[in-house]
């Protein structure tokens, strides 16, 4: 089966710009999770979507937002980019809260660099 796919793989932006990152989950998975992996800060949970709804949100400002589409793919939007937003953005998917204890399956991420 195809894994989690993310696009683009790399992105360079300047401060103040806006960016949209995309994620396609594994077929049959309804939950999509977004994480930020910034240098020195480790993996930080950003957002969780399931069945089109935002279920949980990490400790990030409102300029980080997203949505999940009826086909379960997801977008992460970041407005008013700041230098500290430079990071690897990882998307993961699984069968959601009704699936019991289960792992999350990760894509290879989008490397975002802010100049």
């Amino acid at each position: 089966e195809a894994g989690v796919t993310q696009s683009p793989t790399h992105l360079i932006k300047t401060r103040g710009q806006q960016v949209t990152l995309r994620c396609s989950p594994i077929s049959g998975h309804t939950s999509v999770y977004w994480y930020q992996q910034a240098l020195g800060l480790g993996l930080q949970f950003l957002l969780w979507y399931d069945e089109g709804e935002e279920r949980n949100r990490g400790n990030f400002p409102p300029r980080f937002s997203g949505r999940q589409f009826p086909n379960y793919s997801s977008e992460l939007n970041v407005n008013a980019l700041e230098l500290e937003d430079s990071a690897l953005y990882l998307c993961a998917s699984n069968r959601g809260p009704t699936g019991g204890n289960q792992p999350q399956h990760f894509g290879d991420g989008t490397r975002l660099s802010i100049l």
Partner: protein, 112 residues
Amino acid sequence: SQQGEEDPQALSIQEGENATMNCSYKTSINNLQWYRQNSGRGLVHLILIRSNEREKHSGRLRVTLDTSKKSSSLLITASRAADTASYFCATEKAGANSKLTFGKGITLSVRP
């Protein structure tokens, strides 16, 4: 904030040796998971251990969980150069909020 803290932060061993990595966490959990990340890539799920389990095996991997001490260990036996990567423990807190909280990771180098 980080839930899990791995120990050591870095580990360098010879091929064929065993590697032991430890993780501690702070709150009640549903499960604890170990992931591997090769440089600049996504995370690969290695093993999930539920809160009511004490030990789990998968190939050359052995994971233990001690909920009374809020700690876990990952043992990789007969290591290979291809095991060189960063390893993360992640916890899913009790309650169905499904998000994972990661430690900062352990960098494992296996010398050929």
